[in-house]
Symmetry: C2
Subunit: 222 residues, 2 copies
Amino acid sequence: MPPEEPPKLTLRERKKREARRALAQAALRLSMDRGLENVRVEDIAAEVGVSPRTFNNYFSSKEQAVCSMVVDRHEGMREALLARPEGEPLWESVKQAVVEQYSREGEPDRAYVARIRELMGQLMLRGEFLNAHAAVERVLAETIAKRAGGADHLLCRLMASTVESAVRVAFVNWFMTEGEPFLPTLERLLDELAAGMPGLTGGTAPSPGPNTTTTSLGEPLC
Amino acid sequence: MPPEEPPKLTLRERKKREARRALAQAALRLSMDRGLENVRVEDIAAEVGVSPRTFNNYFSSKEQAVCSMVVDRHEGMREALLARPEGEPLWESVKQAVVEQYSREGEPDRAYVARIRELMGQLMLRGEFLNAHAAVERVLAETIAKRAGGADHLLCRLMASTVESAVRVAFVNWFMTEGEPFLPTLERLLDELAAGMPGLTGGTAPSPGPNTTTTSLGEPLC
DNA sequence: CCCTAATTTTGCGGACCACGCACTTTTTTG
DNA sequence: CAAAAAAGTGCGTGGTCCGCAAAATTAGGG
Protein backbone atom coordinates (compact mmCIF):
# COMPACT_ATOMS: atom_id res chain seq x y z
CA MET A 1 0.00 0.00 0.00
CA PRO A 2 1.11 3.60 -0.57
CA PRO A 3 2.10 5.45 2.59
CA GLU A 4 -1.06 6.90 4.08
CA GLU A 5 -1.33 10.61 4.59
CA PRO A 6 -0.12 11.76 8.01
CA PRO A 7 -2.84 11.33 10.66
CA LYS A 8 -4.98 14.32 9.87
CA LEU A 9 -7.74 12.95 12.02
CA THR A 10 -7.24 11.63 15.47
CA LEU A 11 -5.99 8.08 15.69
CA ARG A 12 -9.26 7.02 17.18
CA GLU A 13 -11.17 8.30 14.21
CA ARG A 14 -8.95 6.50 11.76
CA LYS A 15 -9.37 3.21 13.54
CA LYS A 16 -13.08 3.64 13.57
CA ARG A 17 -13.24 4.29 9.88
CA GLU A 18 -10.93 1.42 9.20
CA ALA A 19 -13.02 -0.96 11.27
CA ARG A 20 -16.17 0.15 9.55
CA ARG A 21 -14.63 -0.26 6.16
CA ALA A 22 -13.25 -3.68 7.04
CA LEU A 23 -16.59 -4.88 8.30
CA ALA A 24 -18.42 -3.63 5.23
CA GLN A 25 -15.89 -5.23 2.94
CA ALA A 26 -16.01 -8.52 4.80
CA ALA A 27 -19.78 -8.49 4.68
CA LEU A 28 -19.74 -7.91 0.94
CA ARG A 29 -17.06 -10.51 0.28
CA LEU A 30 -18.74 -13.23 2.27
CA SER A 31 -22.12 -12.44 0.75
CA MET A 32 -20.64 -12.75 -2.70
CA ASP A 33 -19.18 -16.13 -1.87
CA ARG A 34 -21.96 -17.87 0.01
CA GLY A 35 -24.99 -15.70 -0.54
CA LEU A 36 -26.22 -13.30 2.09
CA GLU A 37 -28.50 -15.85 3.72
CA ASN A 38 -25.54 -18.06 4.61
CA VAL A 39 -23.58 -15.32 6.32
CA ARG A 40 -24.11 -14.78 9.99
CA VAL A 41 -23.12 -11.61 11.76
CA GLU A 42 -20.78 -13.81 13.71
CA ASP A 43 -18.92 -14.75 10.52
CA ILE A 44 -18.40 -11.18 9.46
CA ALA A 45 -17.12 -10.23 12.88
CA ALA A 46 -14.79 -13.22 12.90
CA GLU A 47 -13.42 -12.30 9.49
CA VAL A 48 -12.34 -8.92 10.80
CA GLY A 49 -11.23 -10.33 14.13
CA VAL A 50 -13.72 -8.51 16.27
CA SER A 51 -16.55 -9.40 18.59
CA PRO A 52 -20.02 -9.97 17.12
CA ARG A 53 -21.30 -7.39 19.54
CA THR A 54 -18.92 -4.86 18.07
CA PHE A 55 -20.34 -5.39 14.63
CA ASN A 56 -23.63 -4.06 15.90
CA ASN A 57 -21.88 -0.98 17.18
CA TYR A 58 -21.18 -0.08 13.57
CA PHE A 59 -24.12 -1.52 11.69
CA SER A 60 -27.53 -2.50 12.91
CA SER A 61 -27.82 -5.30 10.38
CA LYS A 62 -25.70 -7.20 7.92
CA GLU A 63 -27.74 -5.77 5.09
CA GLN A 64 -26.77 -2.31 6.18
CA ALA A 65 -23.14 -3.30 6.21
CA VAL A 66 -23.29 -4.59 2.67
CA CYS A 67 -25.03 -1.49 1.40
CA SER A 68 -22.85 0.99 3.21
CA MET A 69 -20.59 0.90 0.19
CA VAL A 70 -23.29 2.55 -1.84
CA VAL A 71 -23.24 5.45 0.56
CA ASP A 72 -19.49 5.69 0.79
CA ARG A 73 -19.19 5.66 -2.96
CA HIS A 74 -21.07 8.92 -3.04
CA GLU A 75 -19.12 10.69 -0.38
CA GLY A 76 -17.20 12.77 -2.88
CA MET A 77 -20.18 13.80 -4.94
CA ARG A 78 -20.82 16.85 -2.82
CA GLU A 79 -17.39 18.28 -3.48
CA ALA A 80 -17.49 17.24 -7.12
CA LEU A 81 -20.69 19.14 -7.64
CA LEU A 82 -19.67 22.24 -5.75
CA ALA A 83 -16.40 22.31 -7.68
CA ARG A 84 -18.07 22.69 -11.08
CA PRO A 85 -17.44 26.00 -12.87
CA GLU A 86 -19.69 28.92 -12.02
CA GLY A 87 -21.71 29.56 -15.14
CA GLU A 88 -22.33 25.95 -16.13
CA PRO A 89 -25.97 24.89 -16.57
CA LEU A 90 -27.23 22.98 -13.57
CA TRP A 91 -28.02 19.75 -15.37
CA GLU A 92 -24.60 19.68 -16.93
CA SER A 93 -22.96 20.22 -13.56
CA VAL A 94 -24.92 17.44 -11.97
CA LYS A 95 -24.26 15.09 -14.83
CA GLN A 96 -20.53 15.74 -14.76
CA ALA A 97 -20.36 15.41 -11.00
CA VAL A 98 -22.18 12.10 -11.00
CA VAL A 99 -20.27 10.68 -13.92
CA GLU A 100 -16.98 11.82 -12.45
CA GLN A 101 -17.83 10.13 -9.19
CA TYR A 102 -18.62 6.87 -10.89
CA SER A 103 -15.68 6.85 -13.26
CA ARG A 104 -13.35 7.26 -10.31
CA GLU A 105 -13.45 3.52 -9.78
CA GLY A 106 -13.85 2.52 -13.39
CA GLU A 107 -16.47 0.15 -14.75
CA PRO A 108 -17.84 -2.06 -11.99
CA ASP A 109 -16.31 -5.50 -11.91
CA ARG A 110 -17.69 -7.70 -14.68
CA ALA A 111 -16.56 -10.90 -13.03
CA TYR A 112 -19.10 -10.78 -10.27
CA VAL A 113 -22.15 -9.91 -12.32
CA ALA A 114 -23.91 -13.19 -11.69
CA ARG A 115 -23.29 -12.99 -7.99
CA ILE A 116 -24.36 -9.38 -7.76
CA ARG A 117 -27.51 -10.33 -9.56
CA GLU A 118 -28.37 -13.04 -7.11
CA LEU A 119 -27.33 -10.85 -4.23
CA MET A 120 -29.80 -8.17 -5.24
CA GLY A 121 -32.47 -10.83 -5.35
CA GLN A 122 -32.53 -10.81 -1.56
CA LEU A 123 -35.56 -8.89 -0.39
CA MET A 124 -34.17 -7.36 2.73
CA LEU A 125 -31.12 -6.26 0.84
CA ARG A 126 -33.15 -4.32 -1.64
CA GLY A 127 -34.74 -2.42 1.17
CA GLU A 128 -31.38 -1.40 2.51
CA PHE A 129 -30.06 -0.70 -0.95
CA LEU A 130 -32.87 1.69 -1.62
CA ASN A 131 -32.40 3.15 1.81
CA ALA A 132 -28.79 3.86 1.02
CA HIS A 133 -29.71 5.56 -2.22
CA ALA A 134 -32.27 7.60 -0.35
CA ALA A 135 -29.58 8.75 2.07
CA VAL A 136 -27.42 9.83 -0.81
CA GLU A 137 -30.39 11.51 -2.37
CA ARG A 138 -30.80 13.66 0.67
CA VAL A 139 -27.35 15.18 0.67
CA LEU A 140 -27.47 15.50 -3.09
CA ALA A 141 -30.64 17.52 -2.77
CA GLU A 142 -28.97 19.83 -0.31
CA THR A 143 -25.95 20.26 -2.48
CA ILE A 144 -28.07 21.03 -5.48
CA ALA A 145 -29.95 23.57 -3.43
CA LYS A 146 -26.74 25.27 -2.46
CA ARG A 147 -25.43 25.16 -5.99
CA ALA A 148 -28.67 26.50 -7.43
CA GLY A 149 -28.66 29.37 -5.00
CA GLY A 150 -31.72 28.91 -2.87
CA ALA A 151 -34.04 27.60 -5.52
CA ASP A 152 -37.28 25.82 -4.67
CA HIS A 153 -36.47 23.22 -2.08
CA LEU A 154 -39.01 20.79 -3.42
CA LEU A 155 -37.60 20.90 -6.90
CA CYS A 156 -34.13 20.26 -5.58
CA ARG A 157 -35.32 17.16 -3.86
CA LEU A 158 -37.11 16.06 -6.97
CA MET A 159 -34.01 16.52 -9.06
CA ALA A 160 -31.85 14.62 -6.62
CA SER A 161 -34.39 11.86 -6.50
CA THR A 162 -34.56 11.53 -10.26
CA VAL A 163 -30.80 11.56 -10.57
CA GLU A 164 -30.61 8.67 -8.15
CA SER A 165 -33.31 7.00 -10.18
CA ALA A 166 -31.08 7.22 -13.21
CA VAL A 167 -28.18 5.74 -11.29
CA ARG A 168 -30.28 2.88 -10.02
CA VAL A 169 -31.84 2.13 -13.38
CA ALA A 170 -28.44 2.20 -15.05
CA PHE A 171 -27.03 -0.06 -12.38
CA VAL A 172 -29.83 -2.59 -12.56
CA ASN A 173 -29.56 -2.59 -16.32
CA TRP A 174 -25.87 -3.18 -16.02
CA PHE A 175 -26.07 -6.27 -13.88
CA MET A 176 -29.18 -7.68 -15.50
CA THR A 177 -27.88 -7.58 -19.06
CA GLU A 178 -24.69 -9.18 -20.22
CA GLY A 179 -22.94 -6.69 -22.40
CA GLU A 180 -24.01 -3.12 -21.70
CA PRO A 181 -21.46 -0.89 -20.00
CA PHE A 182 -22.49 1.22 -17.07
CA LEU A 183 -21.21 4.72 -17.61
CA PRO A 184 -22.50 5.43 -21.14
CA THR A 185 -25.92 4.21 -20.08
CA LEU A 186 -25.88 6.49 -17.08
CA GLU A 187 -24.91 9.49 -19.19
CA ARG A 188 -27.64 8.78 -21.68
CA LEU A 189 -30.25 8.53 -18.94
CA LEU A 190 -29.16 11.77 -17.34
CA ASP A 191 -29.39 13.53 -20.69
CA GLU A 192 -32.88 12.19 -21.15
CA LEU A 193 -33.86 13.46 -17.74
CA ALA A 194 -32.59 16.93 -18.50
CA ALA A 195 -34.70 17.07 -21.63
CA GLY A 196 -37.92 15.63 -20.21
CA MET A 197 -37.44 12.26 -21.92
CA PRO A 198 -37.81 13.17 -25.57
CA GLY A 199 -36.77 9.61 -26.37
CA LEU A 200 -40.13 8.45 -25.14
CA THR A 201 -42.61 11.23 -25.64
CA GLY A 202 -42.30 10.97 -29.39
CA GLY A 203 -44.09 7.64 -29.79
CA THR A 204 -47.79 7.26 -29.22
CA ALA A 205 -48.99 3.69 -29.06
CA PRO A 206 -49.54 2.35 -32.60
CA SER A 207 -51.99 -0.22 -31.25
CA PRO A 208 -52.74 -1.41 -27.76
CA GLY A 209 -52.50 -4.97 -29.02
CA PRO A 210 -53.29 -8.16 -27.14
CA ASN A 211 -51.85 -8.64 -23.71
CA THR A 212 -48.35 -9.97 -23.63
CA THR A 213 -46.64 -11.07 -20.45
CA THR A 214 -48.11 -9.29 -17.44
CA THR A 215 -46.03 -8.93 -14.35
CA SER A 216 -48.04 -9.13 -11.17
CA LEU A 217 -47.72 -6.92 -8.14
CA GLY A 218 -45.79 -9.55 -6.25
CA GLU A 219 -42.24 -9.76 -5.11
CA PRO A 220 -39.99 -9.83 -8.19
CA LEU A 221 -38.29 -6.54 -8.72
CA CYS A 222 -35.40 -6.95 -11.10
CA MET B 1 -71.53 -0.75 2.92
CA PRO B 2 -72.95 -1.43 -0.52
CA PRO B 3 -73.79 -5.09 -1.13
CA GLU B 4 -70.60 -6.86 -2.16
CA GLU B 5 -70.40 -8.29 -5.62
CA PRO B 6 -71.40 -11.94 -5.81
CA PRO B 7 -68.51 -14.28 -5.04
CA LYS B 8 -66.63 -14.05 -8.30
CA LEU B 9 -63.61 -15.74 -6.78
CA THR B 10 -63.73 -18.91 -4.83
CA LEU B 11 -64.66 -18.57 -1.21
CA ARG B 12 -61.19 -19.62 -0.22
CA GLU B 13 -59.61 -16.84 -2.22
CA ARG B 14 -61.86 -14.23 -0.72
CA LYS B 15 -61.02 -15.33 2.77
CA LYS B 16 -57.36 -15.13 1.98
CA ARG B 17 -57.62 -11.60 0.65
CA GLU B 18 -59.74 -10.61 3.56
CA ALA B 19 -57.26 -12.00 6.04
CA ARG B 20 -54.40 -10.24 4.32
CA ARG B 21 -56.26 -6.99 4.30
CA ALA B 22 -57.24 -7.34 7.92
CA LEU B 23 -53.69 -8.05 8.98
CA ALA B 24 -52.32 -5.10 7.03
CA GLN B 25 -54.94 -2.80 8.47
CA ALA B 26 -54.36 -4.02 12.00
CA ALA B 27 -50.63 -3.57 11.56
CA LEU B 28 -51.12 0.00 10.40
CA ARG B 29 -53.64 0.86 13.08
CA LEU B 30 -51.53 -0.46 15.92
CA SER B 31 -48.42 1.22 14.56
CA MET B 32 -50.21 4.52 14.44
CA ASP B 33 -51.30 4.16 18.04
CA ARG B 34 -48.20 2.89 19.78
CA GLY B 35 -45.44 3.32 17.26
CA LEU B 36 -44.11 0.44 15.24
CA GLU B 37 -41.47 -0.51 17.77
CA ASN B 38 -44.12 -1.26 20.39
CA VAL B 39 -46.08 -3.59 18.19
CA ARG B 40 -45.22 -7.25 18.18
CA VAL B 41 -46.29 -9.63 15.49
CA GLU B 42 -48.20 -11.36 18.23
CA ASP B 43 -50.30 -8.23 18.81
CA ILE B 44 -51.26 -7.89 15.18
CA ALA B 45 -52.23 -11.51 14.98
CA ALA B 46 -54.27 -11.21 18.15
CA GLU B 47 -56.09 -8.16 16.80
CA VAL B 48 -57.31 -10.17 13.83
CA GLY B 49 -57.92 -13.27 15.90
CA VAL B 50 -55.38 -15.46 14.26
CA SER B 51 -52.23 -17.29 15.22
CA PRO B 52 -48.92 -15.42 15.15
CA ARG B 53 -47.59 -18.11 12.92
CA THR B 54 -50.33 -17.38 10.43
CA PHE B 55 -49.27 -13.79 10.19
CA ASN B 56 -45.99 -14.95 8.76
CA ASN B 57 -47.82 -16.95 6.16
CA TYR B 58 -49.01 -13.66 4.74
CA PHE B 59 -46.18 -11.27 5.49
CA SER B 60 -42.59 -11.97 6.31
CA SER B 61 -42.34 -8.97 8.60
CA LYS B 62 -44.54 -6.42 10.26
CA GLU B 63 -42.91 -3.72 8.16
CA GLN B 64 -44.06 -5.47 5.03
CA ALA B 65 -47.57 -5.65 6.38
CA VAL B 66 -47.68 -1.94 7.05
CA CYS B 67 -46.34 -1.08 3.61
CA SER B 68 -48.52 -3.46 1.68
CA MET B 69 -51.06 -0.67 1.54
CA VAL B 70 -48.73 1.35 -0.63
CA VAL B 71 -48.75 -1.43 -3.16
CA ASP B 72 -52.48 -2.00 -3.02
CA ARG B 73 -53.13 1.68 -3.48
CA HIS B 74 -51.51 1.49 -6.89
CA GLU B 75 -53.33 -1.56 -8.12
CA GLY B 76 -55.57 0.43 -10.39
CA MET B 77 -52.88 2.53 -11.98
CA ARG B 78 -52.29 0.05 -14.76
CA GLU B 79 -55.86 0.24 -15.97
CA ALA B 80 -56.01 3.98 -15.49
CA LEU B 81 -53.01 4.47 -17.71
CA LEU B 82 -54.11 2.07 -20.42
CA ALA B 83 -57.52 3.72 -20.45
CA ARG B 84 -56.17 7.13 -21.47
CA PRO B 85 -57.21 8.33 -24.95
CA GLU B 86 -55.11 7.23 -27.90
CA GLY B 87 -53.44 10.37 -29.17
CA GLU B 88 -52.64 11.94 -25.81
CA PRO B 89 -49.00 12.81 -25.15
CA LEU B 90 -47.34 10.25 -22.94
CA TRP B 91 -46.48 12.58 -20.09
CA GLU B 92 -50.01 13.86 -19.95
CA SER B 93 -51.38 10.33 -19.85
CA VAL B 94 -49.08 9.34 -17.06
CA LYS B 95 -49.82 12.46 -15.09
CA GLN B 96 -53.54 12.00 -15.40
CA ALA B 97 -53.36 8.33 -14.51
CA VAL B 98 -51.31 8.97 -11.41
CA VAL B 99 -53.36 11.91 -10.26
CA GLU B 100 -56.58 10.03 -10.89
CA GLN B 101 -55.31 7.15 -8.81
CA TYR B 102 -54.46 9.38 -5.91
CA SER B 103 -57.58 11.48 -6.00
CA ARG B 104 -59.66 8.33 -5.77
CA GLU B 105 -59.26 8.40 -2.01
CA GLY B 106 -59.11 12.14 -1.60
CA GLU B 107 -56.45 14.04 0.30
CA PRO B 108 -54.66 11.75 2.73
CA ASP B 109 -55.94 12.06 6.24
CA ARG B 110 -54.63 15.23 7.90
CA ALA B 111 -55.39 14.03 11.39
CA TYR B 112 -52.62 11.48 11.44
CA VAL B 113 -49.84 13.62 10.02
CA ALA B 114 -47.80 13.67 13.18
CA ARG B 115 -48.10 9.96 13.62
CA ILE B 116 -47.27 9.24 10.01
CA ARG B 117 -44.23 11.43 10.38
CA GLU B 118 -42.95 9.54 13.35
CA LEU B 119 -43.87 6.27 11.73
CA MET B 120 -41.70 7.03 8.71
CA GLY B 121 -38.86 7.76 11.05
CA GLN B 122 -38.43 4.05 11.60
CA LEU B 123 -35.46 2.85 9.62
CA MET B 124 -36.65 -0.59 8.70
CA LEU B 125 -39.95 0.82 7.64
CA ARG B 126 -38.36 3.11 5.14
CA GLY B 127 -36.66 0.17 3.56
CA GLU B 128 -39.95 -1.60 3.08
CA PHE B 129 -41.64 1.59 2.00
CA LEU B 130 -39.11 2.12 -0.73
CA ASN B 131 -39.37 -1.52 -1.61
CA ALA B 132 -43.08 -1.15 -2.07
CA HIS B 133 -42.59 1.85 -4.31
CA ALA B 134 -40.06 -0.11 -6.30
CA ALA B 135 -42.59 -2.86 -6.84
CA VAL B 136 -45.08 -0.34 -8.14
CA GLU B 137 -42.39 1.18 -10.27
CA ARG B 138 -41.86 -2.11 -12.01
CA VAL B 139 -45.41 -2.60 -13.21
CA LEU B 140 -45.62 1.06 -14.07
CA ALA B 141 -42.60 0.68 -16.32
CA GLU B 142 -44.22 -2.22 -18.11
CA THR B 143 -47.45 -0.36 -18.55
CA ILE B 144 -45.64 2.64 -19.93
CA ALA B 145 -43.78 0.38 -22.32
CA LYS B 146 -47.02 -1.08 -23.56
CA ARG B 147 -48.62 2.31 -23.85
CA ALA B 148 -45.63 3.78 -25.66
CA GLY B 149 -45.64 0.96 -28.14
CA GLY B 150 -42.38 -0.85 -27.64
CA ALA B 151 -40.21 2.14 -26.92
CA ASP B 152 -36.79 1.83 -25.32
CA HIS B 153 -37.18 -0.39 -22.32
CA LEU B 154 -34.58 1.48 -20.34
CA LEU B 155 -36.30 4.80 -20.83
CA CYS B 156 -39.58 3.33 -19.72
CA ARG B 157 -38.01 2.18 -16.52
CA LEU B 158 -36.43 5.56 -16.03
CA MET B 159 -39.72 7.30 -16.53
CA ALA B 160 -41.52 5.01 -14.11
CA SER B 161 -38.78 5.52 -11.59
CA THR B 162 -38.91 9.28 -11.83
CA VAL B 163 -42.67 9.30 -11.57
CA GLU B 164 -42.43 7.34 -8.36
CA SER B 165 -39.80 9.81 -7.26
CA ALA B 166 -42.29 12.59 -7.72
CA VAL B 167 -44.89 10.70 -5.74
CA ARG B 168 -42.48 10.05 -2.91
CA VAL B 169 -41.19 13.60 -2.80
CA ALA B 170 -44.71 14.97 -2.82
CA PHE B 171 -45.71 12.58 -0.08
CA VAL B 172 -42.77 13.36 2.13
CA ASN B 173 -43.36 17.04 1.61
CA TRP B 174 -46.97 16.53 2.53
CA PHE B 175 -46.35 14.94 5.89
CA MET B 176 -43.30 16.99 6.77
CA THR B 177 -44.92 20.39 6.28
CA GLU B 178 -48.08 21.51 7.94
CA GLY B 179 -50.21 23.12 5.33
CA GLU B 180 -49.32 21.99 1.83
CA PRO B 181 -51.87 19.79 0.11
CA PHE B 182 -50.74 16.65 -1.64
CA LEU B 183 -52.31 16.55 -5.06
CA PRO B 184 -51.40 20.01 -6.37
CA THR B 185 -47.82 19.44 -5.33
CA LEU B 186 -47.77 16.13 -7.13
CA GLU B 187 -49.12 17.67 -10.29
CA ARG B 188 -46.58 20.42 -10.21
CA LEU B 189 -43.73 17.98 -9.78
CA LEU B 190 -44.90 15.82 -12.64
CA ASP B 191 -45.09 18.87 -14.88
CA GLU B 192 -41.58 19.80 -13.94
CA LEU B 193 -40.39 16.32 -14.77
CA ALA B 194 -41.97 16.44 -18.18
CA ALA B 195 -40.16 19.66 -18.97
CA GLY B 196 -36.75 18.73 -17.62
CA MET B 197 -37.11 20.90 -14.52
CA PRO B 198 -37.14 24.39 -15.96
CA GLY B 199 -37.98 25.62 -12.52
CA LEU B 200 -34.43 24.87 -11.47
CA THR B 201 -32.22 25.15 -14.48
CA GLY B 202 -32.73 28.87 -14.67
CA GLY B 203 -30.74 29.84 -11.57
CA THR B 204 -26.96 29.63 -11.37
CA ALA B 205 -25.48 30.07 -7.95
CA PRO B 206 -25.08 33.78 -7.16
CA SER B 207 -22.33 33.01 -4.67
CA PRO B 208 -21.20 29.78 -3.06
CA GLY B 209 -21.20 31.52 0.29
CA PRO B 210 -20.02 30.16 3.63
CA ASN B 211 -21.23 26.74 4.73
CA THR B 212 -24.61 26.68 6.34
CA THR B 213 -26.04 23.60 7.97
CA THR B 214 -24.49 20.51 6.45
CA THR B 215 -26.36 17.26 6.71
CA SER B 216 -24.08 14.31 7.20
CA LEU B 217 -24.31 10.98 5.44
CA GLY B 218 -25.83 9.33 8.47
CA GLU B 219 -29.24 8.07 9.26
CA PRO B 220 -31.70 10.95 9.09
CA LEU B 221 -33.70 10.93 5.92
CA CYS B 222 -36.76 13.06 6.28
C1' DC C 1 -75.36 -35.80 2.91
C1' DC C 2 -70.92 -37.62 3.55
C1' DC C 3 -66.35 -38.78 2.20
C1' DT C 4 -61.84 -37.70 0.38
C1' DA C 5 -58.36 -34.65 -1.28
C1' DA C 6 -56.45 -30.19 -1.30
C1' DT C 7 -55.43 -26.16 1.27
C1' DT C 8 -54.86 -23.36 5.51
C1' DT C 9 -54.04 -22.73 10.12
C1' DT C 10 -51.58 -23.76 14.00
C1' DG C 11 -48.12 -25.25 17.61
C1' DC C 12 -43.52 -26.33 18.34
C1' DG C 13 -38.78 -25.71 18.02
C1' DG C 14 -34.53 -23.91 16.24
C1' DA C 15 -31.46 -20.46 14.43
C1' DC C 16 -30.49 -15.98 14.49
C1' DC C 17 -30.49 -11.10 15.42
C1' DA C 18 -30.84 -6.42 17.75
C1' DC C 19 -29.81 -4.21 21.73
C1' DG C 20 -29.41 -2.73 26.80
C1' DC C 21 -26.23 -3.03 30.53
C1' DA C 22 -22.19 -3.55 32.95
C1' DC C 23 -17.36 -4.38 32.66
C1' DT C 24 -12.62 -4.32 30.48
C1' DT C 25 -9.36 -2.39 27.40
C1' DT C 26 -7.57 1.27 24.73
C1' DT C 27 -6.81 6.11 23.47
C1' DT C 28 -6.71 10.93 24.72
C1' DT C 29 -5.70 14.73 27.44
C1' DG C 30 -3.90 17.60 31.01
C1' DC D 1 1.68 9.20 34.10
C1' DA D 2 -2.94 9.51 36.05
C1' DA D 3 -7.68 10.45 35.17
C1' DA D 4 -11.25 10.82 31.85
C1' DA D 5 -13.39 9.65 27.53
C1' DA D 6 -14.41 6.38 24.23
C1' DA D 7 -14.51 1.94 22.07
C1' DG D 8 -14.67 -3.12 22.52
C1' DT D 9 -16.68 -7.19 24.80
C1' DG D 10 -19.71 -10.78 27.26
C1' DC D 11 -24.06 -11.90 28.66
C1' DG D 12 -28.93 -12.00 28.94
C1' DT D 13 -33.50 -10.84 27.10
C1' DG D 14 -37.04 -10.33 23.97
C1' DG D 15 -38.26 -10.87 19.48
C1' DT D 16 -38.33 -12.33 14.42
C1' DC D 17 -38.49 -15.65 10.69
C1' DC D 18 -39.29 -19.94 9.09
C1' DG D 19 -39.39 -25.31 8.45
C1' DC D 20 -41.99 -29.15 9.73
C1' DA D 21 -45.80 -32.00 10.71
C1' DA D 22 -50.34 -32.41 12.95
C1' DA D 23 -55.09 -30.49 13.22
C1' DA D 24 -58.79 -27.87 11.18
C1' DT D 25 -61.22 -26.14 7.29
C1' DT D 26 -62.98 -26.07 2.53
C1' DA D 27 -64.05 -28.03 -2.29
C1' DG D 28 -65.97 -31.16 -5.28
C1' DG D 29 -67.77 -35.36 -6.47
C1' DG D 30 -70.53 -39.70 -5.42
